[in-house]
Symmetry: C2
Subunit: 236 residues, 2 copies
Amino acid sequence: MSKAFLEPSELDLSMNRARNKPVFCEGDVSGAIYQVESGCIRLQKISNGGHRTVLSFCFPGDLFGLGVNGPGEVDAEAVCLTRVSRLGQTGLAKLVHGDTRRGLAVMEAACGGHEQLAEHFALISHAGAEQRFAWFLNRLGVRLGRPVGDLLCVDLPMMRADIADHLGMTFETVSRELTKLRNSKIIEVVGLRRLLVARPGALARLARGDSPTFLNRAQGVAGPALRAVPGQAMIS
Amino acid sequence: MSKAFLEPSELDLSMNRARNKPVFCEGDVSGAIYQVESGCIRLQKISNGGHRTVLSFCFPGDLFGLGVNGPGEVDAEAVCLTRVSRLGQTGLAKLVHGDTRRGLAVMEAACGGHEQLAEHFALISHAGAEQRFAWFLNRLGVRLGRPVGDLLCVDLPMMRADIADHLGMTFETVSRELTKLRNSKIIEVVGLRRLLVARPGALARLARGDSPTFLNRAQGVAGPALRAVPGQAMIS
DNA sequence: CGTCAGGTTGACCTGTGTCAAACTCCGTGG
DNA sequence: CCACGGAGTTTGACACAGGTCAACCTGACG
């Protein structure tokens, strides 16, 4: 999840994918690593009932692919027209041999940002719809937002259903939460895919979950733990 | 998540941890890899509100630790008296250099079983309490179950609250689901931590979610996807 | 035998999924 | 240029799964 981790010269090839088209070719079972150049990729999984879970969205600079392909497991699809470049297994091995430390770092990054995954997981487990959506928007703002006047402009590459599947809720609920944020003047909605964040602080507060429902139920962890976690600043 | 991935000779040292004690020493920020020898480790995260999320339980043979430590991120605690062995960074580098393929495999395994994580994630997002719990028990049976007569005996190392935090629900709900399974004669409960699975097939069916609530709402994925996923046999 | 952490059960209430209807955007063709 | 149509989105009404709070039970251990 680091920006521009690999230079163009180190990459095997680069290619375009149209909206909703998979990145992995059908027979492609190799442990290649991909890097998003432009656009947006979603890593997703279709489960038995036909349900879809979006594990994460990848934006320009993000790496993905290692230990994530293999048919029937996790697949990667373009959210919109997207360009990705690919580092094959041979290139990867070369990188690992040539510079162990860097190789390890790439492995780790490509293995998929445990940190982010853990945070996402914790959110899905505990938080309500409001906090989930605020968390998502907040992170999107940090990642994609451009300052416009004193507002933060964010263009959503994905549709509501994608967001819903990312946050473990229905697209109707996503829509309702959007409306709630609009009503409380925290954001403005321009077309259908463009948002203007008016009060980033309030958004971050919602994302941390410390404004309403404050006295959440901190389940009694038996052991010595339950140390105070410093409120990590999500807005950079 | 493979058994006995590393031989004792390759490991730096091994140590015991008492119930609810952390595996990582306070100052330990090195990228070491750990392997469970006996007992049970839980990887967990404490979020802002004091909520705990158990990301996964590690049983003998399981690897963990890479990209997972770092204070304030994810920590590992013993569920019960547990012995773990440790492979330090130098040992890891040696392994990577000596045998690239094996090194990569270790990296991947230690990076944390994306496959499993994806499945867990999908479950938490979509499934109800019944399916979540059945999925957990089923997997535990596969992993820890010993055949006793025509029953499958499973000893739970963890308490209800641990399971609850693993599955994103409350311990009361865990208890209720346990009772439901007992009432439907799918399992028997012996002491307080011992289960006998009487009808593994029924349990697996619940875990897949294809018995009740059958017509789940398969959200219309726009693209070409929505391929039929073959019902993966969860019972080995 | 007493104590207490851990577990069970019940009653209630709310958040969010479900179903249904209407509305908006945008591309396409007449 | 406008009408049309369909995908995507918003909004409403309603039901129910599961969280919350509270009381009680049980089994392990000193």
